[in-house]
Symmetry: C2
Subunit: 353 residues, 2 copies
Amino acid sequence: MYKTKAYSAASKSSPLASDTIPRRDPTDRDVQIEILFCGICHSDLHYARDEWHDVMPAVYPAVPGHEIVGKVTKVGSAVTQYKAGDLVGVGCLVDSDHTCPNCQAGLEQFCPGQVLTYGSPDKHKTAPVTYGGYSDSIVVDERFVLRIPSNLDLAGAAPLLCAGITTYSPMRHWGVTKGKKVGVVGLGGLGHMGVKFAHAFGAQTVVFTTSPNKREDALRLGADEVVVSKNADEMQKHTGSFDFILDCVAADHDINAYINLLTRDGNITLVGAPEKPLPVAAFGLIMGRRSLSGSPIGGLAETQEMLDFCGQHHITSDVEVIPIQKVNEAYERIVKSDVKYRFSIDMASLKSD
Amino acid sequence: MYKTKAYSAASKSSPLASDTIPRRDPTDRDVQIEILFCGICHSDLHYARDEWHDVMPAVYPAVPGHEIVGKVTKVGSAVTQYKAGDLVGVGCLVDSDHTCPNCQAGLEQFCPGQVLTYGSPDKHKTAPVTYGGYSDSIVVDERFVLRIPSNLDLAGAAPLLCAGITTYSPMRHWGVTKGKKVGVVGLGGLGHMGVKFAHAFGAQTVVFTTSPNKREDALRLGADEVVVSKNADEMQKHTGSFDFILDCVAADHDINAYINLLTRDGNITLVGAPEKPLPVAAFGLIMGRRSLSGSPIGGLAETQEMLDFCGQHHITSDVEVIPIQKVNEAYERIVKSDVKYRFSIDMASLKSD
């Protein structure tokens, strides 16, 4: 066991502050990583502030962060895939049971025994729960370590580990390819990645937004068209035409307006989770055999596939790089959706803290 | 043009009564059918009473009926598939545009130019709108005529044309086969067919009902297990275990309770259409990548496949056979769900009316 610097919340009402946390010494299968950048996901706030108490009660000190990129500093004797100096990433998962049907299928995101990067009971007993990426270093089983293509900007690559795979996975699952018409609802951290992927897959990409002033940016990110969702006439023109819609909105919104835009057998997938149930009209689903679904992150194999795809297509997240000392300010801005489109923490700032 | 006996509603508040309606003389491609049995679908009531005014306003006189079986009496010169004396069926559609992508795919149920068996503008101008199966005879384009396997009881075969295909089609679409675990919610006209099909496909079949007294009947129809949905403990035991659930409930109900019973990638399909939107919790869909969809009837090719499957597996609807003179009484009983499980009108009764 060794000590490493981190930023943690001491209680649900405390700002994040400098701290020292334990990490295990690498076991035979472990990879020790010096963290270079860590993206800030909205989940980080929810956890630090214990806003998801019912499904995932926070344990303090709480160290968030699951969009991690870094450099390998040491590997265990049985590690075969990585060596010191490699550029690697860690996403939302650091372990699973490896035996359930989901794990067997390479879908560790559905494993009932999954270990989240932060806030899950720590199997290694280094601490009561796992500590995330707002930290100098982390030690992870090599099966949960991913390779970062060397051509990617590391600050922009960090959010791929959660925002990237969360948007990539459902598009792959529901068959987004060239020739398909794809909508992305909401242009935030998730949505802007959805636009980049839909465009890179060759799909006709349409962004739905409530903010007309996001039009230019949406087009720059790869959208072929932007629809202001409050404009009923603009919406009407697209009735029955979408093969797939990625719904990235975590606030209350009219899902039926989007269901009606789907073509026969079209699907709309929720990746944002509004707090209140969404009223869904049966008729819109029945006429057209449409479906509404949800999707969390992806499995390890698919996350690597996504990273490789990003390497080939030069895709990273649009980030605002901040020092760790500005994390609390960043949280306030995230609550106000005031970020284009993700914060990425330069962890070098922690060394001088 | 010729005249034929029928039962029609003269207004939305009128009971159905004896009437005479025009039918076209068979064109080259037409099949003239003497109707032997016609099932009563809940849609018949909605249409006769103009309860679906916004989507399908009734035109009076209204002649419902889209679960038709009968005997061919005459065919046009270009008809190749049928000859006088053949046992045939007609379902919810009597024509489509034949050119749209849906028709090209054999999915006429999604054709924007579809002609419903009753209440659609009549292309042949025999009457303002099409008249359904509560009638002595009907004339239909041979492409919308189906073959009824000779081993089936005709009274019980009639409801296959709507209730049958409505439950068969989504099960085929979502891959119900041997080895899958399938739920059927609601044991009525649709639900009892769903149970028969799920069982015949070899699936482990579970019926959800609010009425414990339907248990015996559900088992008789082919269910392996019956769950009383009001019993939270019974429901809990099935969490995350269903590959597919067919939701046949047209009343308000807690859809999230069923979504949570789905396994990873499981689907629940609505075939009943509750009047009010169903509140759907995003979390239940996201965790497990589950989907909620809807399905109407099926295309012509699939309807024939379903009828052939019924012939092979000796499947018909459980019906209560009534004379046409009891149709208004039957409507009242349908509103109270007082039928096991479908009314089938013996159209011989109309001859003596």
